[in-house]
Amino acid sequence: MSLPVLESAVQPQKGIRRRKVMLALARNSYLYAMFALPALYFIVFHYVPMFGNLIAFEDYNVVQGFFHSDWVGLKFFREFMTDPYFWKLVRNTLLLSVYTILFSFPAPVIFALLLNELRLSLFKRFVQSVTYLPHFLSTVVVAGMLVNFLSIDGLFNQLIQFFGGQKIQFLNEAGWFRTIYVGSEIWQGTGWGTIIYLAALTAIDPQLYEAARMDGAGRLRQMWSVTLPGMAPVIIILLLLNLGHIMSVGFEKILLLYTGSTYETADVIQTYVYRRGLLDADLSYATAVSIFQSVLAFVLVVLANQVARKVSDTSLW
């Protein structure tokens, strides 16, 4: 906006400007009255906690309160980063995210491509309705279903036994956690994820398909050379957004599914913040850990965006 220039030009008439603002306020008094409540909401539940993060730099103590606890600088950050557990947390967080992106991100892309090739629109709509459904189940329900199905005499072990295999304690073996987590993400998200891709496909010019056919392209070739490029910008944008969340894996689901014996692979930064902060009441330490996570996430989005801008024309900013 060109406000600074304007201001310097109108400097001697500052009173006029102020009167203009007052007039705008008065004329729209109803709008400001409406906005008061939302503004209060954002201050109380977003901006106050944002500044509340400062407790990471003090030895916060509930009795002394925010304003009277002692400042300790970076003590808790240093403590966290020299903790041997630090690397395990970072590793688990990154790996779970990377696996999710690697496996559950492409699933809706492929599924949308296939859905798009269905000629029977009634069948197509039915498939869509069914596959959207898991998106609306709560995390607790999905975790509950996993616990039931993966238990020692659950569905999966019955199948394994039927084929003559050995029963597996899925939820107590650290080696299985990532597979279970990512698999359930795919189950829940694939159908819902196709919505946006299918929307992007409606914008593709049908002439492109015609031209491709003229050049002798078969269905697969059309899919590869027309449909996929048509989805590309949306894919890149979504990939970037996903990379932005790389540090915040589905923490609620992990919280529900992990057990002491799977901490090895399942404990992530956010679950650690929850345990240290709310269960052990190490409020300052946990806040420092969570700030560390935000900063790292921010750096990763910026990096990802930079790469996307270099590699393709699409980027978030």
Binding site: N53, L115, L118, V130, M145, W187, A199, L256, L278
Partner: protein
């Protein structure tokens, strides 16, 4: 399409789609049939496609359990009150921001969108909720998520698409912004409002973590917490009392575990077919604007 031949690719594709349908629906179906099957058959693992020894004992126990019934009622309450607050505050936020005459709207929008990227974090928000004295009250559940910025932006975009002439003619008739909002804008905004109600309501129905951290009093627990205790943690203490003995408990434990999941999912399954088109439309608006 006329003259289309049924090639190998189509066959392959249809098979994949059928597989997707089975993989999606079978778990839910399986939960349902196990919950009404004979406990001994369940333990033997002989339930596959059809229920065996159909009985509704698990559901009798579930609905006779006061803590489950109360949790159900609590969830309804949180969903109703929460969604009302969501709708009210989101609209109050979105409408002013959609008006060009609203001085400072760019700054306000920026400050609000900023909160999407820089979140207060778990602990500081907990401390705020705690220090306002909202612990163990419904307010801790319904107020902190009152406005979803993403949905607010969706709603604002919708309001902006309403032609300005309508506003002007209302002003001519002497209406102020509050009146214009109630009489002109809201009646035109039913589609977006319906979408919002659905999204927010599903969110409240499914929400579990806020209840976990803000509520200690069992009387306030929502369904998802009970569900977690029974299904995920395997805590059947209360339900075994209802059974009156330990012998039967083990046999019927699986029925109950699967049954509570069905009970929790049922309302969503029932409304789902009717609301589906709104969900899809809403998701499209929401994601394409991003």
């Amino acid at each position: 399409m006329p003259g289309k031949k049924f090639d190998a690719f189509t066959l392959f594709n249809v098979l994949i789609m059928l597989a997707a349908i089975v993989v999606t629906l079978y778990p839910l179906y399986y939960m349902a049939i196990v919950s009404i099957s004979d406990g001994n058959e369940v333990m033997r693992g002989s339930i596959g496609w059809f229920p065996k020894g159909v009985n509704f004992k698990a559901y009798q126990i579930i609905f006779a359990d006061p803590s489950i019934v109360r949790a159900y009622a609590n969830t309804f309450l949180y969903t109703a009150v929460g969604t009302t607050i969501n709708l009210l505050l989101t609209a109050l936020c979105a409408y002013p921001l959609s008006r060009k005459t609203f001085y400072g709207r760019n700054l306000f929008t920026l400050l609000i969108v900023f909160t999407m990227f820089f979140d207060g974090g778990l602990i500081p928000r907990y401390l705020v909720v705690n220090s306002i004295g909202m612990m163990n009250t419904i307010w801790a559940i319904v107020l902190p998520p009152a406005i979803n910025v993403w949905y607010m932006v969706m709603m604002r975009t919708f309001f902006q698409s309403i032609p300005g002439e309508l506003h002007e003619s209302a002003y001519m008739d002497g209406a102020h912004d509050g009146k214009v909002f109630l009489r002109v804008v809201l009646p035109l905004s039913l589609p977006i409002m319906a979408t919002m109600v659905l999204f927010y309501a599903v969110w409240h129905w499914n929400s579990f973590f806020p209840a976990l951290i803000y509520l200690n009093d069992k009387a306030w627990y929502p369904l998802q917490i009970i569900l977690r205790n029974i299904v995920v943690e395997g805590d059947m203490a209360q339900q075994s009392n209802a059974l009156g003995g330990d012998l039967g408990t083990l046999v019927i434990a699986n029925n109950i575990k699967y049954g509570v999941v069905i009970v929790a999912v049922l309302p969503i399954l029932l409304v789902y077919p009717f609301l589906q088109k709104y969900f899809v439309k809403g998701a499209m608006v929401g994601s394409l604007k991003g």
